[in-house]
């Protein structure tokens, strides 16, 4: 399992164990890249000890194509596939992540998404009303921050988090990084488009703006947290853990000074790349997969269903701030009163209407090629980066260029 929600996982590993089997927990490294590598090493070696695993959504296509994941049984699979069409209990965005080649290879557990976090006082100072914030664009928040001494926090280190941002920007402009991904190495590369250029314009604008944080080129989910309650504050795109994180830091270093300062924390839908075009918030989270080399796939699948139960999802949300993947669990979390109602609704809409990263057996190559051509943010040029990036991704996929 990944290191999020360990205590809740331990509890469910215990309660989902039966007379036939015990669930033992082994923790994966903290970064998604390292998690993927460690799981892949085991699975490539046909390690039968890995029965259940936490999968970042972008791993599912890769692992399924490699033959490392067992298929989810028919009944559960049809519940998930019907949810993709909006007819089941799973949120469409979350259900979509576990389908590869029309088959279901994992069960969604928690569904992460990004929203725009900001200091209400900073937005107010910039003349952005709460209504403006609900459909704010990247241009608006960069200008607002730059003119009022604030910053805009994004994830732009040379890592997967940067691709999350680029993908959301491109999708927010109505485009995509690649399409027809089931064609493998012959997928269609759609980066060199108006959407690609619109995304590059946002990256360039922020990198050249006073709103850029000094460590923009190495920023990640953790480094962007600091400036929120220091000085005039910031606008920041980040995952759902932020709310519980700042709530737990009231009065502590790096957090809001007191409860009143915490109430200055605002949230809104992910900013739009193009005015008038709905944004596509990133989707993350964790799916539970069963290893293809498991000696007891039936038991493992039974345990996977137990660990992804509604109650487990509710507990993960309330205790660890990890949002559910089903509507039933969302309703319970909303009723608990632990989160502001509008925030819960924002999460749910963001997952439902968000944009997944490309599903491909070669996703790691696509992602790395984009990182190489779009990093550092200061080097991004809308006139050349999307085109160079498209050429490079294509060449890398065809094995003609090194990565």
């Amino acid at each position: 399992m990944n290191p999020d929600g360990v205590d809740t996982f331990m509890k469910y590993a215990d309660s989902c164990s039966t007379a036939d089997y015990d669930i033992a927990v082994q923790q994966l490294p903290s970064s998604a890249t390292d998690q993927r590598i460690q799981l892949a090493r085991r699975l490539a070696a046909e390690d039968s000890s890995t029965d259940l695993m936490n999968l970042d959504p972008v791993f599912v296509a890769e692992f399924a194509n490699a033959g490392w994941l067992a298929e989810v049984p028919e009944e559960k699979a049809s519940e998930i596939t019907s949810s993709v069409e909006g007819e089941g209990d799973y949120l469409a965005g979350a259900a979509e992540t576990v389908v590869w080649d029309d088959k279901v290879f994992a069960i969604p557990l928690w569904a992460n998404t990004q929203v725009l976090w900001y200091r209400k006082s900073l937005a107010e100072k910039a003349g952005l009303s709460e209504e403006d914030m609900q459909q704010v664009t990247w241009d608006q928040i960069i200008d607002a921050a730059a003119e009022n001494g604030g910053t805009v926090g994004v994830q732009a280190n040379l890592y997967e988090g940067y691709v999350v941002w680029i993908n959301a920007l491109i999708q927010g402009a109505g485009g995509a990084i690649v399409s027809d991904t089931e064609a493998g190495r012959d997928a269609s590369i759609d980066l060199n488009s108006d959407a690609g250029r619109a995304a590059a314009e946002v990256v360039q604008k922020l990198a050249e703006s006073d709103a850029a944080q000094p460590d923009l080129s190495v920023s990640n989910e953790g480094t962007v947290l600091g400036p929120m309650f220091a000085g005039p504050g910031e606008f920041m795109v980040n995952w759902t853990f932020v709310y519980k994180n700042y709530e737990g830091l009231i009065g502590a270093a790096g957090g809001p000074a007191d409860k009143q300062a915490f109430e200055d924390l605002g949230w809104a839908r992910y900013p739009a790349t193009v005015e008038g075009e709905p944004s596509k918030p990133p989707i993350g989270g964790i799916d539970i997969g069963v290893g293809a080399y498991s000696e007891h796939p039936e038991f493992a699948m039974e345990a996977a269903e137990c660990i992804t139960s509604t109650q487990a999802q509710v507990d993960l949300a309330l205790v660890n701030g990890l949002m559910p993947s089903t509507n039933a669990a969302y309703d319970e979390v909303a009723n608990s009163g632990d989160y502001p109602e509008d925030l819960i609704e924002l999460y749910r809409t963001s997952v439902d209407e968000g944009g997944p990263r490309p599903k491909s057996a070669f996703y790691a190559m696509i992602s790395s090629a984009i990182q190489q051509t779009w990093h550092s943010p200061a080097s991004v040029d809308p006139d050349s980066t999307p085109e160079e990036s498209a050429d490079y991704v294509g060449n890398v996929l065809r094995g003609e260029d090194l990565l």
Binding site: E62, G184, P214, V218, M365, S368, G399, E400
Partner: protein
């Protein structure tokens, strides 16, 4: 060298039986020796030769772990792609830069440390231990330590350097990032260099130094004309070991920049192909090229110093 073990000419007739006995004994000893080392050789072949042969074999494939059905033989295509790709040469260039800069600086500082360790009279144990501490630290840990030191948020480097702004991001551009990586590497491995040089210093005859002193040679003259020439073999070994090690630089880059800002070395490029991208064919081709580069560097350094290693071991 080996000439002491084998008789140069046929033995005279009257001593044939004695020589035969000696020869038989030598042969028997040889056979016993071979039997004794056989398990080690077999083990070495398994752990060293097998992966190398497998890497060569895999390098002729277009093979991605996540698309096993699309595996196919492509011959030398991976090598051609690698050698004709600017990224490969950029990584090679930066790797050579890391190697030359770090080894040159380490040689100078390491020699100074070796002199201190050699001549120190009081607190010898503490001085030697203090100098060697960085080498006892795992490279990844040292990488993280220096990454924090250079961080504009919680590092001390920006505060100590008056000509640099407090919010200067060392990892935001190639040159400062390379400097940071080199400093971490130098800090970590200079003690190793000084250890090897200390061993060389210990072998320089005190009589020669005394004789030079009597002849009126200054400290510099004694260093340049007596000590350093007599340490040539030790210096070569130190440079050879560190150069090969530096050419495989990986950990500091992995921790400090993750290869960003054109700081990735050949080892890092190989790691990314094989481990991150699961491209076993291309990754293996790069591994083979890395292996050949290391062989070439070793060959060049040995040629450059014109040191007979067997003589250096006093076997001649």
């Amino acid at each position: 060298m080996t000439s002491t073990a084998v008789p140069a000419a046929p033995a005279p007739a009257q001593k044939t039986s004695g020589r035969n006995t000696e020869s038989d004994r030598l042969k028997a000893e040889n056979r016993l020796g071979q039997k004794l080392v056989a398990p080690a050789i077999i083990l070495m072949l398994i752990v060293t030769a097998f992966p190398m042969i497998r890497a060569i074999w895999l390098s002729i494939y277009d093979y991605s772990l996540t698309a096993p059905d699309e595996r196919e033989i492509v011959g030398a295509s991976n090598y051609i792609t690698a050698l004709s790709d600017p990224l490969f040469w950029k990584a090679t260039g930066i790797t050579v830069l890391y190697m030359v800069v770090t080894v040159a600086i380490e040689l100078v500082i390491g020699f100074a440390f070796a002199l201190v360790m050699h001549r120190v009279i009081f607190g010898r144990g503490i001085v030697r231990t203090s100098i060697l501490i960085p080498y006892g630290i795992i490279t990844v840990v040292s990488g993280f330590t220096w990454q924090f030191a250079f961080s504009y948020q919680n590092g001390f480097v920006n505060g100590w350097l008056p000509f640099i702004g407090d919010d200067f991001n060392w990892f935001g551009e190639t040159t400062p990032a390379v400097i940071a990586i080199c400093i971490s590497e130098i800090w970590k491995t200079t003690p190793f260099m000084s250890l090897l040089l200390l061993a060389g210093l210990a072998q320089v005859s005190e009589d020669m130094i005394e004789a030079a002193k009597v002849d009126g040679a200054t400290w510099w003259q004694r260093m340049w004309k007596v000590v350093i020439p007599n340490m040539r073999a030790a210096i070569m070994v130190a440079i050879l070991f560190r150069a090969l090690d530096a050419y495989r630089i990986f950990d500091n880059i992995f921790v400090m920049t993750n290869g960003a800002e054109d700081t990735q070395s050949i080892s890092f490029l190989t790691y990314r192909q094989t481990i991150e991208q699961f491209q076993l064919g291309m990754g293996s081709a790069l591994s083979v090229l890395l292996f050949l580069s290391v062989l070439l560097i070793a060959f060049l350094i040995i040629k450059l110093f014109r040191v007979d290693l067997a003589q250096a071991r006093q076997e001649g």
